[in-house]
């Protein structure tokens, strides 16, 4: 009849009491279990989505703030440009893995043909486009697009620091474009840099001036992103194809090449227009869009905080996680709700189990006194009751683990659906290179999954058993510290 056997008898001989305790723990356990499940799931969503969104960030005008400005405010506003120095300064922050800033322009050519592909319904994309080649200026020699897997270098090499610095006339083009024009690494090709004048009356463009630029092919790339998706997403395939053709016709060159061409355009314009000439005297006409890749998704927030004060007025950091914040509404409300439920459930559990155990113990007080009067060690008396309570609690917790999980799944399903209808519209969303924007609230909800993982299970048992342990031990210690006479006589 040792204390373990007594504990066993304590449970089985007082079935009613054990069942009441079980029921209380089970009900409260469902609350805690459900709340933890939702918490965990929302936490997981945030990390997986942010992981998927990547670590890209850029700095640009805050168009939302701009739009909300009044006429007067706009008149007095003096927009500052984002200088290369500032771009570099931000790039030196410890959160940044690598960064680049580039200029982009479009050019035509008389000597090479753009890569084309027939679309369904016999629509030819790129047809009659006289500037089909998109030139992308590079400052980061290894080319971020290749590092991030948008493209892959198939032949040749990337830029050298020297070439970037000096603006050497070298280019990396797509393999398909090269094949189309029988170009190989080491060959040169010519693009036509033309200055257009757009007449508002006729809507016609006339070429004011043009010049050739000759580039040497140093490397060939192969587009990578979205390759696998083409087949599965039928409806998007046209869209994808267009993007693909755009990318196939992209020519990577050092920034300085584009900068020189821009300069040339402005000079041509300035010949006709003294106002532009004046402007050219005063400021540089180089506009760069920086792109920063951070070390990991958690860095986005501190990065934004550190960058914000450095920026000129009306500029803001735009990152992938902004998007998450835009669409995570349903998730956030789930998360806060579950936080409160968890807090309330834990407090309620401590109080209610404390109370139930206290009643349970009041009933057992005399029995405990008897054990003490027979010389049983206090530790074993405490141990016996703890075993009884913990065994019952364990069963209750295990049951509620599963039902709470099911419940959490149900509750969050309905909540998400309810919230889903209030989804914001995405009109006016600006798309940035490297910052994926195809994420919808649907995706967020899809990646939300209430599941039993080990950390959740352990966490739940931990919280549950600890709560019950504490609410049992406190009154128990109070009882066994009394001398047996006080209890029995």
């Amino acid at each position: 009849m040792n204390f373990m056997k007594r504990a066993f008898l304590g449970i089985t001989r007082k079935k009613g009491k054990s069942l009441i305790l079980l029921a209380v723990i089970f009900i409260l356990g469902n609350l805690i279990s459900g709340a933890i499940a939702i918490q965990q799931a929302t936490g997981n969503v945030e990390t997986t989505i942010k992981e998927r969104l990547g670590t890209a960030a850029t700095v640009d005008m805050d168009y939302k703030a701009w739009e909300s400005m009044s006429e007067e405010e706009l008149e007095t506003l003096e927009m500052e440009e984002l200088g290369v120095d500032l771009i570099k300064q931000i790039g030196e922050l410890p959160y940044v893995k690598y960064y680049d800033y580039s200029m982009t322009t479009w050019m035509g050519s008389e000597s090479i043909e753009p890569y084309q592909e027939e679309l369904e319904e016999d629509v030819m994309y790129g047809d009659e486009d006289n500037i089909p080649f998109s030139l992308k200026g590079i400052n980061y020699a290894p080319v971020i697009d290749f590092e991030e897997g948008k493209g892959e270098l198939a032949d040749g090499r990337v830029f050298t620091e020297e070439e970037i610095k000096n603006g050497t006339s070298v280019a990396i083009i797509s393999q398909k474009l090269a094949e189309q024009n029988n170009l190989e690494v080491g060959d040169t090709f010519t693009l036509l840099s033309a200055v257009y004048d757009y007449s508002e009356e006729t809507g016609e463009e006339t070429v004011l001036d043009s010049r050739d630029i000759v580039l040497e092919v140093i490397g060939l790339f192969d587009p990578q992103s979205g390759k696998e998706e083409t087949e599965s997403k039928e409806e998007d395939s046209d869209m994808f194809l267009m993007e693909d053709i755009d990318y196939q016709n992209t020519v990577y060159v050092p920034n300085a090449i584009i900068s020189a061409e821009e300069q040339y355009y402005w000079e041509v314009y300035a010949e006709d227009d003294p106002e532009i000439a004046e402007m050219l005297e005063e400021e540089s006409m180089e506009y760069y869009t920086p792109i920063y890749y951070l070390n990991n998704p958690e860095d986005i927030e501190p990065f934004e905080e550190e960058v914000a004060p450095l920026l000129p007025e009306l500029y803001t950091v735009i990152s992938a996680s902004d998007q998450y914040d835009d669409i995570s509404g349903p998730m956030e409300s789930m998360s806060t709700l579950s936080k409160y439920v968890l807090l309330v459930a834990v407090i309620a559990t401590v109080l209610i189990t404390g109370l139930v155990v206290l009643l349970f113990l009041r009933d057992r007080k005399r029995e405990l006194g008897i054990y003490l009067s027979l010389g049983e060690k206090r530790g074993k008396v405490v141990g016996q009751i703890l075993i009884e309570v913990i065994v019952v609690a364990f069963v209750g917790i295990t049951l509620s683990l599963f039902t709470g999980n099911l419940l959490a799944g149900q509750v969050s399903d309905t909540m998400m659906k309810a919230d889903d209808t209030q989804e914001e519209s995405y009109e006016g969303v600006i798309y940035y290179e490297g910052i994926e924007t195809n994420l919808t609230a649907e995706d967020v909800i899809d990646s939300y999954e209430v599941s039993l993982n080990s950390s959740y299970v352990l966490g739940f048992y931990g919280i549950g058993l600890l709560t019950i342990l504490i609410s049992t031990i406190i009154p128990l210690i109070y009882i066994v510290r009394l001398n047996p006479k006080k209890i029995l006589m």
């Binding site: 003490l372 049983e376 029995l488």
Partner: protein
């Protein structure tokens, strides 16, 4: 001397005042004898017994068991190995059967007792008049006299030299009282000392 009390003081605090129940009380008991303490209700019999059985501690003075201070032995250990206590109100565990109640102290004591505790417990109960089928009943399904016998059996089960009983017949009718007294007399011949 198997048991000695020296200068025991025990009081209740009554406001500012101390109301002494025991004041400089000394008493000693020889081994193998049967003692009865008489006194009016409220005179402090239960109080003295609780001090002698280490269920409570005196404000001053000491209790010696075989010349050793029970405080030194350790109250818990003393209760576990040296004394069997019988209460006026039985104090059995109601959810256990008679035999289970007797087995409880047998699993707690460190005294030498036969390995086959169950048989010993049945024999013990049988000896004081609880037959096997009653021994397997929950104690709250037994009469007062039967419950008191179970309590006696429980006190005897650990093979102690000293039994302390607090009005063990107080709740019983005369006939039952006589039977219980007879049991104690019978036990006396086995060499235990009992205080009543």
């Amino acid at each position: 001397m198997i048991l000695e009390a020296k200068d025991l003081n025990y009081y209740y605090q009554d406001g500012e005042q101390r109301r002494y129940i025991l004041k400089d009380t000394s008493i000693s008991f020889e081994k193998g004898k049967f003692y009865t303490i008489l006194g009016q209700s409220g005179s402090g019999k239960t109080t003295l017994l609780s001090l002698l059985s280490a269920l409570d501690s005196p404000h001053s003075g000491e209790v010696l068991f075989n010349e050793e201070n029970i405080k030194k032995i350790g109250y818990e250990k003393y209760r576990r190995n040296n004394v069997g206590i019988i209460f006026q109100s039985y104090n059995l565990i109601p959810t256990f059967t008679a035999i289970e109640n007797v087995l409880v102290p047998m699993s707690i004591t460190e005294n030498e007792i036969p390995d086959d505790t169950k048989t010993v417990a049945y024999n013990l109960l049988d000896y004081i008049g609880i037959v096997k089928n009653k021994a397997d009943r929950l104690v709250n399904q037994l009469s007062g006299g039967e419950q008191q016998r179970v309590a006696i059996a429980r006190a005897l089960a650990t093979n102690v030299e000293l039994i302390l009983a607090d009005e063990p017949t107080g709740n019983l009718d005369e006939e039952m009282e006589q039977e219980i007294i007879d049991i104690f007399k019978k036990l006396m011949s086995m060499g235990n000392v009992s205080l009543w």
